[in-house]
């Protein structure tokens, strides 16, 4: 990539857990600053494993993790510290991601200590950030269990931004939120993205959220990307039958029952024993003999790539 300076990317990443579960089975994906990328998939797709690999929580079995052009696969201690300063993560359950016996103030000061930053210079910025997130100073003296779920979410976000990272990985950021407040969180992320020109990766199973707030999207299934591209294009005209089925299954308000729903049969196969050929062939409505033996590779253009021998017609 030409502008690799402002990118975090994985190349042919594979992560196999002990026990033989191939959670990530050869994935290349890039996230640029100022861009929001969505990672969509059902259970067993490996989306969270991939996200954690980006912050260095999962060690690649093979392949590369490159941050701003630097290969971090070997991850020395210094590399790791640098990576973690540049790439931060917010976890699915914000409350349980806060160490229970530390006050909010200590939790927020931790990144400063860990990375040996100048406390006098950083702390005012942290307080600014808190104010912008709608948290009062009174919260600083509290313990995590004394604040509300919404406040914990904000503390987790503030903590991730203390080191002034370029990239933010958000694992299911709206899980468990009511519709009336999920917009608030997404607006907040969008606002922070503009201010800090962050590159944000949103991992989610909520297609409405992904479709609305991301620039690019990658659809994962059993450790592989089946389709990826510009969100608009992929959502309007999916080329992979799985993407199509996923979008069709997404419940939308449709009291007149106008929409013909496409329902996939069968269960999601176990990632420890993925099907041969195309991983999706056991549930695909358009499956043919070739799909059972030959694994399709991602083809297409920068705007939309898909891994299918018999892609759907482009609507455009």
């Amino acid at each position: 990539m030409t502008d690799s300076v402002q990118t975090i990317e994985v190349e042919e990443l594979r992560i196999t857990f002990s026990g033989g579960v191939q959670a990530v089975a050869g994935i290349s994906l890039a996230l640029k600053i100022g861009e929001t990328v969505g990672l969509v998939g059902e259970s067993g797709s490996g989306k969270t494993t991939l996200a954690k690999a980006l912050v260095g929580l999962n060690r690649p079995t093979s392949g590369k993790v490159k941050l701003e052009g630097r290969d971090l696969t070997s991850l020395t201690r210094a590399d790791r510290l640098w990576l973690r300063r540049r790439v931060q993560m917010i976890f699915q359950d914000p409350l349980s991601s806060l160490s229970p016996r530390m006050k909010i103030a200590s939790l927020l000061a931790e990144p400063i200590k860990i990375h040996g930053l100048d406390r006098h210079e950083r702390w005012p910025k942290v307080l600014d950030l808190l104010a912008r997130l709608g948290l009062s100073k009174a919260q600083l003296e509290k313990y995590p269990h004394q604040i509300s779920g919404g406040q914990a979410r904000r503390v987790a976000i503030a903590r991730a931004l203390v080191t002034d990272p370029s990239f933010l990985i958000a694992d299911e950021p709206t899980a468990g939120l009511d519709v009336s407040v999920q917009g608030e969180l997404l607006n907040l992320l969008a606002d922070l993205q503009k201010r800090h020109s962050l590159g944000i990766l949103i991992v989610s199973h909520n297609l409405n959220v992904i479709g609305r707030v991301t620039d690019r999207v990658a659809i994962m299934y059993l450790g592989k990307i089946l389709e990826e591209g510009v969100t608009r294009t992929v959502f309007r005209s999916p080329r992979h039958p799985y993407t199509h089925a996923l979008l069709s299954a997404n419940p939308v308000i449709d009291p007149e029952h106008k929409r013909e729903k496409l329902v996939l049969s069968g269960e999601i196969p176990s990632p420890s024993n993925p099907p041969s050929g195309c991983r999706f062939h056991t549930r695909c409505l358009k499956v043919q003999d070739r799909c059972r033996v030959e694994e399709p590779v991602l083809t297409g253009t920068e705007g939309q790539r898909y891994a299918c021998h018999f892609p759907l017609e482009s609507a455009a």
């Binding site: 009336s180 999920q182 297609l207 609305r212 089925a245 419940p251 007149e256 996939l264």
Partner: protein, 322 residues
């Protein structure tokens, strides 16, 4: 279709006792559930929708304080029924599907045993062999292939979608008059959720009872329900046949909820709609309209509590502007 009422909830109020005082979880809720229909209860957390479902089942939690009003099933007030008889009703006329089937299936008994036990209230005269046969047929009907093997299996050996199918089979084996489904697809993956939604939709056709579907998902409600009641902070604020409710919502809360629903087709970049403010205090409940503090259309009269009034045939809204 004529609308015959099966369950009539009249002025139901439920308090939970907490350290800080009585929490008024449901206040003066009236709702009728017609025979042979699917009624949706939709609302956000704290709306009281799950409490209402539990009240229907007679399974209110231990810390329940004062309960007043009536829940009439064919004219009989369920709140007066002694616990022993209520227990019999639950396995017979009333059945429930929970959000997480793993926690509601007993891990130490096989699926077959649990499906047999579920029918004992309904068919005390039948032996295990007959009951197993019925279970076998029901598993086929809910789309489980190879039912003989599944009957011998234990809950942990089944996938989440399969377990939810078993729960549905178990509920249907009771041949209930009323089936309560509390967030039945929330724990499932999208493609599996679609399967369960289709299954519920298919089953409606030859299911003689009523279904109460509790969900936070307007999409799911719109797909499955004949009628909808929108709940907010322990009140029903609007109820109507589904098409009317989504086509012509008459309560500002319903309108706001619909506006918050994210449509991926919208242009990105614009800020998403939210409802400002938070839930009202349900211990010291504010006077007047319960939604007033967050309502964009608030005006002088909202200091008085608006009753749930019919605004057109079958469509009720608790708003002075409706």
């Amino acid at each position: 279709m004529n609308r015959e009422t099966l369950v009539e909830i009249k002025n139901l109020s439920v308090d939970f006792s907490t350290a800080k005082g009585a929490l008024h979880v449901l206040r003066d809720v009236s709702l009728s559930i017609p025979r042979n229909r699917v009624v949706g209860l939709v609302g956000e957390s704290g709306s009281g929708k799950s409490t209402l479902a539990l009240a229907l089942l007679g399974l209110l939690p231990d810390n329940t304080g004062e309960v007043s009003g009536r829940i009439e099933l064919d004219g009989e007030n369920l709140l007066d029924v002694p616990p022993e008889e209520l227990r019999r009703l639950r396995g017979g006329r009333i059945a429930m599907i929970f959000q997480d089937p793993m926690t509601s299936l007993n891990p130490v008994f096989s699926i077959g045993t649990q499906l047999v036990d579920a029918q004992r209230n309904r068919h005390p005269q039948l032996g295990r062999r007959e009951l197993l046969k019925r279970a076998d047929e029901m598993l086929k009907r809910v789309g489980i292939s190879n039912p003989e093997a599944r009957l011998a299996a234990y809950p942990h050996q089944l996938s989440g979608g399969m377990r939810q199918r078993v729960m549905i089979a178990m509920a249907l084996l009771c041949e209930p008059d009323i089936l309560i489904a509390d967030e039945p697809t929330t724990a499932l993956d999208v493609t599996i959720e679609a399967q369960i939604v289709r299954l519920l939709d298919d089953l409606r056709a030859d299911f003689s009872g009523s279904i109460v579907l509790v969900s936070h998902s307007l999409g799911l409600i719109s797909e499955l329900c004949d009628e909808v009641a929108v709940m907010y902070a322990g009140k029903v604020v609007e109820s109507a046949p589904t098409k009317i409710l989504f086509g012509n919502p008459r309560h500002p809360y319903t309108l706001a909820l619909l506006a918050c629903e994210i449509d991926p087709e919208d242009e990105p970049g614009e800020a998403l709609v939210t409802i400002k403010g938070g839930l009202p205090d349900l211990i010291d409940v504010p006077k007047g309209c319960i939604f007033a503090a967050r309502c964009p259309s608030r005006f002088g009269k909202c200091v008085e509590e608006p009753p749930l009034c019919e605004v057109e045939a079958g469509h009720k809204s608790a708003c002075w502007l409706a």
